[in-house]
């Protein structure tokens, strides 16, 4: 029970052979395996970003050739999207927390869970091979006929990597949905679930219904290149827009795969650090589902200038505006949650507040892109780049970091250094804005994305962006260093350092191997902070002494 009791058995120290990690069926260990793997890809994607940001310091090519530059931004996009952002919160925090939060001993299908990590790693190795053997230069969007016919880089390897990693995503989603449906603790009704679970549930729907479409699409590109079987080839009558439809049918909802779990994290953090139930819980929960479902049918806003029918474009435009509404509702509800709260600005909360600000900007600039007439001008410019980095990095990555800090004591039983945490959060916020805000201006000025060399008048803004990127990179590095440090030297954490509600705080830190000895019985709503004393005592449920 005492955190200082080093003899207590928990999921980390119960067994420590390589097999015990590589063949583990424990959702918590699988979460950790995912964490290590995606960090590797984050690092790779980050290195690529650093290199091309340095290249963009000057309007001319001064560091790398065209070929290299194109491979760098493709590597950045592919690794960050398919191998970092998509698995980030679901596969790491989701795997680790979801069963504990619903009072289950494990995921419904532990073997499939482990298999998903192997499949993901295999896909990642294909992606790595594509990079090692010379890279890919199609951009992460793989538009045909460039990718299918004209590019002479390792498109097949990269496509296979994405195809394979897609199945990891499907397995994770499948596991989440079944687990949430079938494994909830007694008394944990749907509307007592933490909003993190709602977010994961909505994400899992997209993973299951969207991912197979990208899988078959990139597979077709691979088949077309490998066997010369023309599917998208204009020379035999293939339609380049068919690829774009299929691609964006997944890749737009994939944006919601990347942001919905982040929204779930933010709900947890805000509730905890303002000691209040999330304002309008039901509305926030349903808005996640609304985003997941509506988000499927807005993909055509990526194709307004592609010669798509303007009538189809109108439908996609209006649906894109509609999907903005549930996102706006969430922001308003989070803000209202702070009202009459008891707010403390610990590191996770700083990230959550940063998330609200940046996501608001990211979401609002999304309206510009949904507006057909403005989209014509800003499509494929840095405006788009800035917009999705505000959502993906300003949103998802901030949420990921917030969540990692929030649950760090739970995952490893150690506290991170709070002062460093707050400092790094501020550095990252500042660095982020300096990097990406100038890109909005660049975009409206007309600088197209994926440009290696650019007209001179854009240089000042690009230099600002690169400067910001260095600050941002330093911030990430700082987080990485003190988190690793804290694994060994951090103050030991009690079970519930934040006095937070939620079942995960009622098991010891780190949790025992099977989470709960007896399934907990839930008799209250989520975020019930009215009864403060419940959380102030450091207590564990029956699950402490598993061994």
């Amino acid at each position: 029970m005492e955190s200082g009791d080093t003899k207590r058995k928990h999921y980390l120290n119960i067994e420590n052979t390589p097999q015990s990690w590589l063949l583990t069926l424990d959702h918590k260990r699988i979460g950790i395996l995912y964490l290590v793997t995606i960090l590797l890809f984050f690092f790779l994607g980050g290195v690529a970003a650093v290199l091309f940001r340095l290249e963009l310091l000057t309007p001319d090519a001064h560091l790398v050739e065209h070929e290299t530059y194109n491979r760098l931004f493709t590597m950045h996009g592919v690794t960050m999207i398919f191998f970092f952002l998509i698995p980030s919160i679901p596969a790491v925090l989701g795997n680790f927390l979801l069963p504990i939060m619903i009072g289950a001993r494990d995921m419904a299908f532990p073997r499939i869970n482990l298999a998903s990590w192997y499949v993901f790693t295999a896909g990642g190795l294909f992606g790595l091979a594509a990079i090692v053997f010379g890279g890919v230069d199609t951009g992460w969007t793989f538009y045909t006929p460039y990718s299918s016919t004209y590019a002479n880089s390792n498109v097949i390897l990269a496509a296979l990597g994405i195809f394979i990693a897609g199945f990891a995503s499907i397995m994770t989603g499948l596991n989440f949905i079944v687990t949430i449906h079938k494994m909830r603790a007694p008394g944990l009704t749907w509307f007592r679930l933490p909003l993190f679970i709602w977010g994961q549930y909505a994400t899992a729907i997209i993973m299951i219904l969207g991912t197979p479409v990208i899988a078959i699409t990139v597979l077709l590109v691979g088949i077309e290149r490998l066997f010369g079987v023309g599917i998208f080839d204009p020379a035999i009558g293939g339609d380049p827009l068919l690829f774009q439809h299929l691609f964006w049918f997944y890749s737009h909802p994939a944006v919601y795969i990347m942001i919905l779990p982040g929204m779930g994290v933010i709900s947890e953090v805000i509730a905890c650090f303002s000691r209040k139930r999330i304002f309008g819980y039901h509305v926030v929960a349903f808005s996640s589902l609304a985003i997941a479902i509506l988000g499927f049918f807005v993909w055509g806003h990526h194709m307004f200038v592609s010669s798509q029918s303007m009538y189809a474009g109108m439908i996609f435009s209006i649906l894109s505006f509609l999907v903005a509404i549930p996102s706006a509702i969430k922001v308003f509800n989070w803000t209202a949650t702070l009202y009459k709260g008891s707010i403390s600005l610990d590191t996770p909360m700083l990230y959550a507040l940063g998330f609200i600000g940046l996501f608001t900007i990211g979401g609002l600039t999304g309206l510009f892109l949904a507006t057909m007439a403005i989209n014509i001008h800003v499509h494929d410019t840095y405006f788009v780049v800035a917009h999705f980095h505000y959502v993906m990095v300003g949103g998802m990555l901030m949420a990921f970091l917030g969540g990692i800090h929030f649950w760090w004591p739970k995952m490893f039983g150690r506290m991170y250094p709070e002062a460093w945490g707050r400092f790094a959060a501020i550095v990252i916020f500042v660095g982020f804005n300096l990097t990406f805000f100038p890109q909005f201006i660049l975009g409206y000025l007309g600088m197209p994305r994926r440009y290696h060399v650019y007209p001179e008048e854009f240089q000042v803004l690009n230099v600002m962006s690169t400067a910001g990127a260095s600050i941002l990179g330093a911030g990430y590095l700082m987080v990485f260093v003190y988190l690793v440090w804290s694994l060994f030297k951090g103050r030991r954490s009690v079970s519930n350092p934040w006095c937070a509600a939620g079942l995960e705080w009622r098991v010891s830190s780190p949790p025992p191997q099977h989470n709960f000895k007896k399934a907990p019985v839930v008799d209250r709503d989520a975020y019930d902070y009215t009864d403060e004393d419940v959380y102030k005592s450091d207590y564990d449920s029956g699950g402490t002494s598993d061994g």
Binding site: I376, G446, P448
Partner: protein
């Protein structure tokens, strides 16, 4: 105010002003919400910080009125954006009937441009001030995108299809032309410029262009191809002609053998030349051979220009 950093792109077409108006409206709405949320966040954080003695009676868990308000108000605002954006988009998709037609062929990694007078340019486009210009575009390889920021005009250029874009320049000067759709190694070198000249200068440019006599106009070249390829043996106005008379066909409605009625636009003419039987006109025998492989993209455009010239020019663009 010049601080050495460009903050806003030049407006060099009538449409650019319209687009910017809408843009400013969106900026205003966005600023309002960013500042609203930001101010509320800061106010709440200060007022309700943990150590403060602020009054915290039982906080409400939810409020139906508020939820409805912050659903309906954004909904109304976004619908205004949608309608405004869609109407403007239609305007951007509807070239004026008196537009000068310029042919654009994109290929890795250059823009090939031909004027109605026959002048060809690469990566440069000279246009007269105040003259609506319609671009008929296609690609020889991958997807490109013709983008002139100062005109707020962008359109993808696809292999095997025609796309169009138009603008009316209202300022003289030299403006960037970019390829906006990633098209391979030298994507960022697929750039050029649009030079807007006064009509007088434009005439001078036409006259003095590189010293040599301009090539045929597209219409001229098309007429010559029309004869060379023997099109006129079947497509003539006399009774008993084996093919339909092409005078005035452009922009008209055509009834096909399979009963469909289509408007004879550029894409239809293109398809009729390349794949005649798919678009056979009602009442004619399917005897026309395909010309695929016999004519290249540029020649196709010239043929189509010629066919268009056979109709009354004033009728084009009013298909419906």
């Amino acid at each position: 105010m010049d601080i050495g950093i460009p903050l806003f792109p030049e407006q060099a077409s009538d449409l650019a002003r319209d687009v910017d108006m809408l843009f400013f409206f969106l900026i205003a709405v966005s600023m309002f919400f960013v500042f609203l949320i930001g101010a509320l966040l800061i106010y709440f954080i200060v007022k309700f910080r943990r150590r403060s003695n602020a009054d915290r009676p039982d906080a409400t868990r939810s409020h139906a009125g508020l939820e409805i308000a912050w659903t309906v108000i954004p909904l109304i605002l976004t619908m205004i954006m949608f309608v405004w954006g869609a109407v403007l988009f239609f305007k951007q998709s509807r070239p004026p009937s008196d537009a000068m037609e310029i042919l654009v062929v994109g290929k890795q990694w250059m823009w090939k441009i031909q004027h109605p007078t026959g002048h060809t340019e690469i990566n440069e486009l000279h246009v007269p001030l105040g003259q609506p210009v319609k671009l008929n575009m296609t690609s020889e390889d991958v997807i490109h995108s013709f983008y002139v920021p100062a005109f707020r005009v962008k359109m993808d250029v696809l292999p095997g299809r025609y796309t169009t874009a138009w603008f009316t320049p209202n300022r003289t000067g030299r403006f960037h032309l970019f390829c906006a759709e990633y098209c391979g190694t030298e994507h960022s070198k697929m750039v050029g410029s649009v030079n807007v000249l006064t009509p007088v200068e434009y005439e001078r440019w036409l006259a003095g262009e590189v010293g040599d006599t301009p090539a045929d106009t597209p219409v001229e070249a098309g007429r010559r191809l029309f004869t060379q390829l023997g099109c006129a043996t079947c497509h003539h106005p006399d009774a008993g002609a084996l093919g339909p008379d092409l005078a005035g066909v452009f922009g008209s409605e055509v009834t096909l053998a399979d009963g469909r009625t289509v408007v004879a636009d550029e894409d239809y003419l293109r398809q009729s030349i390349l794949d005649p039987r798919a678009t056979l006109v009602d009442g004619y025998e399917p005897i026309m051979p395909t010309f695929r492989g016999l004519v290249n993209e540029q020649q196709l455009m010239q043929l189509i220009s010629y066919i268009k010239s056979l109709g009354d020019a004033g009728e084009t663009g009013e298909g419906m």
